[in-house]
Amino acid sequence: MGLVTRKKVFSIMALCAMVGLLLFPVIVSLPSLAIGADAPDAAKKEEAKVEKGRDVYYKTEGIVVGAPAPKTVDGPRDYPRYNFESRVLLWFANQQHLYYGSFVLAVPIFCMVVEFMGVVTKDKALAKRYDQLAYDFIKISLTAYSLTAVLGGILIFTFLTLYPAFFGYLSSIFRPVMHIYALMFVAESGTLYIYYYGWDKMKEGFLKWIHLSMSVILNIIGTLLMFLANSWIGFMMSPAGVDEQGRFLGNIWHVLHTALWNPLNLHRILGNMAFGGGVVAAYAAYKFLASKTDEDRAHYDWMGYIAMALGVAFLIPLPFAGYWLMREVYAYRQQMGITLMGGLLAWLFIIQATMIGILFLSTNYYLWQAMGRMRGAEKYQRYIKYLVFILACGYLVFITPHTMVMTPAELKAMGGQQHPVLGNYGVMSAKNGGINVIITTTVLSFVWYMRGNKVSTVSWSKFGNIFMGCFFFFAYINIIGLAIYGYYIPANVRVGLSVPQVATTLSCLFFMFALNSVMMKGAKQMGPIEWGKISARSQYALIMLATAFTWMMGLMGYIRSSVRLFWHVNEIMRDNSPWAYTHTVGFAANMISFNVLFFWISILFVFWLGSLAAKKAPVDAKAGVPGSAPQPAGSH
C-alpha cells in the first residue's frame, strides 16, 4: 500500500515494541509457571527433608516451598496503627484506587470502540466527530491515569505500614506476579503515551490502522493488569495453591487461578465499562449544563448520549456475571454464599436492589427526555405514564425485603415475622419477575427512542408494528407468569425459572432492536434529532446514573471484602486485629458515601485540569454544522 515511508516504519516499530513489552513479562514468567509437579529446588534440599502438602482447593500434592501463613497477634508488630481504625484507612485507599483504576481501564475501551466507529463510518463529518470524541476521552483519562498510579502507591504503603504481616505473606506468595504487574505498567504507560501523543500524526490510512491496533494492545495490557490484581483478591476469598497452613506449594498458576478469579475478571470488566460510561456521561452532563453556546450544548448532549448508551449496554450483561460470581461463591463454600445472601450481609443486597432500580429508572427517564428533542416522538408521550407505572410496580416488588425492619409493636400487629402479602414479594421468584419487567421496559423505551422521529416506509410496516407490540406484551406476560408459577413448584425447579425469564428479556433486546433497525431502513424522518435541545433534568438523570454506579461499586466492594468475615485469607490466615468484626450497615453506608463523594470531588478536579490543557486545542475540534448533526447510520 504505497511507499514504505519513515513514518510507517517508525509506527510499525512502535507497535512491535508495545507487543514486545506486553509479551516480555509473560515470557520471563514462563520458567516459574513451569514449576508444577517437580520443584527445581528439590536438589538443594536433602531428599529426606522434602515436605509435601496438599492444595486446599485443587487437592493436588505439591512440594512445600513457602512459609506457613503467620499467626498474627494484636499488637504493634503485626498491626501497627495510628489512633484510628486501620481497616477504614485501607478501605479508603483501596476504594479510591479501584475507582480510578476502573475509570482508566474503561475509557480506553470506549476510545477503541469510538475510534473504530470513526474509521468505518461512511459519513465524513460524523467520522471526524467520532475521532475527536475518542481523542477527548483519552485526554480525560490521561490525568486520571497518573492519579491512579499515585493512589496505587498510597495503597501499597498503607498495606505495608498497617498490615505488614499480612502483606508480607501475600507478597511472598505472589512475588513474581507483583513484579510482572509492575513491569506491565511500563508497557501500559508507554503504549498510552505513544497512543495519545501520536494521535494527530497517525490520522490517516495505514497509520490509522496501526493506531487502532495500539488501542487494542493498550486494552489488552490494561485488562491483563486488572486480571493480575484480581488474583490477589481471589486468593484472599478462595485460596488455592497453598496447603492448609498456607504454605505455598510451588504452582503459581494454581495461586492465580483460584475458584473466584475468572468470575471476578468478567464481572469487573463489565462493571468497569458500565462505571466508565457513567462517569463520562456525567462529565458530558456537567459540561452541557455549563455550556454557553448552542454548539457546545449539542456536542455534549451527543457525548452524553453515547456514553450512556455504551454504559447501559454493558450494564445489561452485568447481572449474569454477578450471578456467575455468586454461583461460584456458593459452589466454593456454601457458608459464604449463605452469609452473603441469606444471613449477615443480606440487607446489603436489598440496598443493591434499590440502586439497580435507580439505574434503570434514570436511564428510562433520560430516554423519555431525549425523545423530547425529536419531532415525531410525541406519539409516544401519552404512554409514558403507563411505563412509569410498570417500572414503579416492578421496582417496588424488587426492593421489598423479606425480613422487614419493624418495631416490636408492628411485629405483634403483623402477627409474625413475615407479612402475608408483602412477604411474598420478598422471595426470588417475585424479584426476578420485577427486575426483568424493569429491564424489558427499558428496552421498550430504547426502541421508542430509536424510532421516535421516524415513520417506517417498508411494505410490511403494519405487520411489523403489530408484531412488535405483541412481542412486548407477551414478554411481559411470560415474565410475570413465570414469577407467579414459581410459587407453586418446589425450590429446585423454581430456581431454574430465572433462565427463561432472562431469556425473555434478552429476546426482547435482540429481536426488537434488530427488527426495529430493519423496519427503519430508509424510513421517513419527521425531523432531525435536535442535539442540545434537551431538558436540564435529563442531564441530572445522567449525573444520577453515574452516582448510582459509583455507589453500587463501593457497596459491592464492601460486600466482597466483608464476606471473608474474620479472615485475611479465607480459612488460611486469621484476622487477629482489633477490627475483626463486621461493621454495622449504617457505618458501611456512610463510609461508601464518603468514598463516593471524595471520588467525585477529586475527579471534578481532574476534569478541570483537563480543561486547562484544552485551551490549546484546535478550533476545528468540533466538526459538523452547528446545532444539528447528521444522522449516523443505524443508530443515534
Binding site: K462, F463, I466, F467, G469, C470, F471, F473, F474, A475, I477, N478, L482, Y485, Y488, I489, P490, N492, V493, G496, L497, V499, P500, A503, T504, S507
Partner: protein, 40 residues
C-alpha cells in the same frame, strides 16, 4: 381492519409459541421440567 386482525392473530401465535418454546427448552437444558405443575 380485517387485515390488522389477521396480522394480530399471526403475531399472537408466533409470540406465544416462541415464548413457550423458550420456557420449555431452557428448563429442559438445565434438566428441569417446565411443565411440573401440570404433570401432577
Amino acid at each position: 381492519m380485517g387485515q390488522n386482525i389477521l396480522y394480530g392473530i399471526i403475531s399472537v401465535a408466533i409470540c406465544v409459541g416462541y415464548f413457550l418454546m423458550v420456557d420449555h427448552f431452557l428448563m429442559d437444558m438445565q434438566g428441569l421440567d417446565f411443565w411440573y405443575m401440570f404433570r401432577k
